[in-house]
């Protein structure tokens, strides 16, 4: 039984330890660790402060089938008036399986006139995308979409 040199064993143990800490199977891999549903939940808690999130009002437009996860068009619109005393104050976008659960936070105000933002995002895997809108009265509304990704983002190696 030939034992490998110490350095590689140490590297392997270090990697395995790191993987175990991240709560994933200790497989030596170069792929970034995925965010877990718990990370998604805690990222959402950071925004809502534990307040209840109702479903509705928010419309999340993402293509249900994405060929290239490197650039996925996303539009969030909120069916809510934008009056000074009652408006959408911010829109937050999260995902389930990218290395980080946060995608973006958009801060609006009553002068926006329409609570709608668009951008392009990256998705490393088929997963759920969640949008949460915070209203000026402190209530939270959300919508989520399941997206199927055929070509994942940011897993390719850089030469």
């Amino acid at each position: 039984m030939h034992s490998p040199p110490n350095s590689t064993r140490r590297q392997f143990l270090g990697l395995a330890g790191a993987a175990a800490v991240l709560g994933t199977a200790p497989v030596v891999t170069l792929r970034p660790a995925e965010a877990t549903p718990e990370m998604l939940a805690s990222a959402i808690r950071n925004v809502t402060g534990g307040a209840a999130v109702k479903t509705g009002k928010v419309k999340l437009d993402v293509p249900p089938l994405v060929e290239n996860g490197n650039t996925v068009p996303l539009t969030v619109s909120v069916a809510h008036p934008m009056a000074p005393e009652d408006h959408v104050s911010s829109i937050h976008v999260f995902n389930e399986k990218n290395p980080q659960p946060n995608v973006a936070n958009f801060h609006l105000g009553p002068h926006a006139g329409r609570a709608q933002v668009s951008t392009r995002i990256r998705l490393t895997d088929s997963q759920k995308v969640v949008a949460i809108a915070k209203l000026s009265d402190g209530s939270f509304w959300s919508a989520s979409v399941d997206v199927v990704v055929t070509l994942a983002a940011c897993t390719e190696e850089v030469i």
Partner: protein, 106 residues
């Protein structure tokens, strides 16, 4: 190197809700990619985008690595007076870019 594309209507009526589109050329390196040798490519992203109208902030976005390269944003605002939109992108490694666009409101 970096350059911005801004789309703002030149004219609008008072009280109109207009759409503003912006695109900034930037690699948005997520920090999660690896070289063949195994070392991680360091993160280099735009972390914040702000739009001000005549000095007042009307839109702000906090960005994370999940935003695609060359960040594109579209958002809305109500115009009440003629003036200047100032756009600002701030990012890692001291990245900072600005752009502006004017609108005449009748």
């Amino acid at each position: 190197m970096a350059s911005a594309l801004i789309n703002v209507p030149a004219k609008a009526k008072r009280g109109d809700i207009i759409e503003i589109k912006t695109l900034m050329s930037h690699i948005m390196e997520s920090g999660f990619r690896h070289r063949a040798s195994g070392e991680a490519v360091p993160r280099d992203i735009i972390t914040s985008f702000t739009c001000r109208f005549n000095g007042t902030e009307i839109f702000r976005a906090d960005l994370f690595p999940a935003i695609a390269a060359n960040p594109f944003f579209s958002f809305f605002t109500t115009v009440t007076e003629s003036g200047n939109f100032e756009f600002e992108w701030i990012g890692d490694k001291g990245f900072s870019e600005t752009a502006s666009a004017s609108i005449s409101v009748e």
